[in-house]
Symmetry: C2
């Protein structure tokens, strides 16, 4: 199955539009790992260039994988097994290429409509029909991915929309909805 | 638009299957409020019978609605305006009936397949074609809604499924995915 996700903590924008490194949010670790597992993914990259941030994620993972949490909550352990801690997107690229033998295709997400974005149906089709490619959907924390990322990716995914113009979902909600649109059970999604 | 959501903190089950009252999770307040707003809902009920829990939610809401947070993050304020704090599901019923003038129809969610559950497409169709009804989808915290709830509701919604048998989504993820399936932009969802 040629789909992975990556949660980017740098470079992303803050509310003033400046490029920042965001803090790790505990709920992002668990919620995205659970969603990745539910939708059959094998890899969830947490991209954080600061070593102490990666150490924090390691401590959380150790608690639920080996520590007291492992017995208390088995599904949390199972989900966290998908997490890969990396420094930057290049490392995601190299790890994906090496482990899957496929060509990584990076897909950026944004809450704002951008030109040349690909639809959910089209990306789903490509994932299902291009076994030579490993697609990796990038999610920005803070106020979204910096242009340094979106200008370098292979594809932009259309924003998630409801029936309104307001679409300020948390990254946890957006990632879950996007995985459902790309990998949700087809019978469930048919009208 | 005849759809609301309610997040239930009692009666729900813990991991041992016992009926408990769960703690309020700050991220549940924000993530579900943002999802409700994105998908055009007007009401997001937080059902918590313990007064100190409702006070906690009020403090969070005040911070973002009137306090320092209101200026810092306008979308958080806009989303939280949908939150209604209530003691139990009866109060949800009465508030919905009074404010909308429609008949409340309660729809329970579960991660386990249950008999006589309704599909997403069918519930979406009913929401769009039954203006006399106000549908309210109930989400359980902890390990899910107690039978005391599921045995009393009007409808059960099918579990969210990906391509695997593993479906342990967080309540934040599940609620977001379900709202997308019921109210996501149709063009986005078409294959």
């Amino acid at each position: 199955m040629g789909l992975a996700i990556a949660l980017i903590h740098f470079p992303v924008r803050n509310r003033l539009g400046r490029v920042v490194n965001t803090a790790i949010t505990n709920f992002d670790i668990h919620d995205l790992a659970r969603a990745a597992r539910t939708y059959g993914l094998e890899r969830y990259y947490i991209v954080a260039p600061v070593a102490s941030q990666r150490d924090f994620v390691r401590r959380v993972m150790a608690h639920w994988s080996e520590g007291p949490g492992a017995e208390m909550n088995i599904t949390r352990k199972e989900a966290l097994q998908l997490v890969r801690l990396v420094r930057d997107i290049n490392e995601v690229h190299d790890n994906l290429a090496e482990e899957t033998g496929r060509t990584p295709i990076f897909v950026a997400t944004s809450a704002r409509p951008l030109p040349n974005s690909i639809s959910y149906a089209e990306l789903r089709r490509r994932i299902e029909t291009q076994p030579q490619n490993e697609f990796c959907v990038l999610f920005g924390t803070g106020y979204g991915l910096d242009d340094a990322v979106t200008s370098e990716v292979d594809l932009m995914l259309a924003p998630v929309r409801g029936p309104t113009d307001w679409n300020h979902l948390s990254v946890r909600s957006a990632a879950s909805v996007i995985l459902d649109r790309l990998r949700g059970n087809r019978d469930d999604l048919q009208p």
